[in-house]
Symmetry: C2
Subunit: 200 residues, 2 copies
């Protein structure tokens, strides 16, 4: 059984969207469950509005629903402190930290990450503007230079995620093929994660 | 796999003590794990000071540690709202609600329990003074008359629990046989719970 946990330094950085799309990716290979531990219950609401290709469990019922799962994605509240981050990291195979390419997020991220130390985590740049805008790639380089492990994949901003949330689907399953294109980002990210957790 | 969850209307009602002693009882029959979901981390500290006959897992690592468990005891934060209570109840085989024999606790308990409705829960009178004091039994009757399912077992107050907490043991394992006597209360409660969850 593999566990990945998604947490974030601030709200609004695509944390629940990332949890949902990674669970979608892994549900293609494994019996997957998403545990919604965010008090906003974004993932549960998403599931209730439509149909997701995996079970979403309320964290208060997680123990009961988790048996038989091969892959667990845990969505957590944002704003963990460094103690939380360490404990969360110990509880999973990989901790994913989405962050928008926003210079204000960089400093707190560098500071917290310093405390986390050797933990098995990766930062993920999300909500990046499409080229020619380079903010996402610049942030990625800044994180790397600051010693923060960061995914190669950058998740681009697209209106497709809002549509997907409204329809209660992953972006992969939207009927509009232009909106579906963004699925490639999470597919690429999913492959990167596979390599990280199986290379460990 | 069976799951019991312990929660309480207020702090200081023996919630973590109950979680630890029920986990002790069930560890005599099943591979048991206690998940500490109380931000005070009382159960984790108890375990760190000595030796408990079961694993205590930080809730942030629960998913990783729970595999193989036959019996799960979950300690939660106190002061749940009625929505929490319903969700907690759905996530377990039995929800245990410790309460001190304190008339101030009665009214909020009756109100919340009304909202919980048909859920699989039982109130538990804890920290009762020994006979001839009858506060515990009086509270038990009041709850019953108020339509609240309540355990027959009443857990008595004793200094043994403080000693047990200090030594990091369950009260069952204390060397002083007078202090050990209180173990009978949780043993009786454990049997009552066995009947409830296997009779369901």
């Amino acid at each position: 059984m593999k566990i990945i946990t998604i947490t974030g330094y601030k709200g609004g950085v695509g944390k629940s969207t990332t949890a949902i799309h990674l669970a979608t990716y892994f549900s293609e290979f494994y019996q997957t469950i998403l545990i919604d531990g965010d008090p906003n219950r974004t993932a549960l609401s998403w599931a209730e509005r439509g149909s997701l290709p995996f079970t979403v469990a309320d964290e208060r019922q997680a123990m009961k629903q988790v048996s038989g799962a091969e892959f667990i994605v845990i969505d957590t509240p944002a704003r963990p402190n460094s103690d939380d981050l360490k404990e969360l990291a110990k509880g999973c195979d990989l901790l994913v930290l989405p962050t928008a390419p926003d210079i204000l997020s960089l400093q707190p991220m560098l500071e917290t990450a310093k405390d986390v130390g050797e933990a098995n985590y990766r930062a993920l740049i999300t909500i990046a503007l499409p080229p020619p805008n380079k903010d996402g790639e610049t942030m990625r380089q800044d994180l790397k230079e600051g010693g923060i492990p960061v995914f190669n994949t950058i998740v681009r901003r697209t209106v497709g995620y809002q549509r997907a949330a409204l329809e209660g689907k992953p972006i992969r399953d939207l009927s509009d093929s232009r909106l579906r294109a963004a699925w490639q980002d999470y597919k690429k990210l999913g492959k990167e994660i596979q390599e990280v957790i199986h290379g460990r």
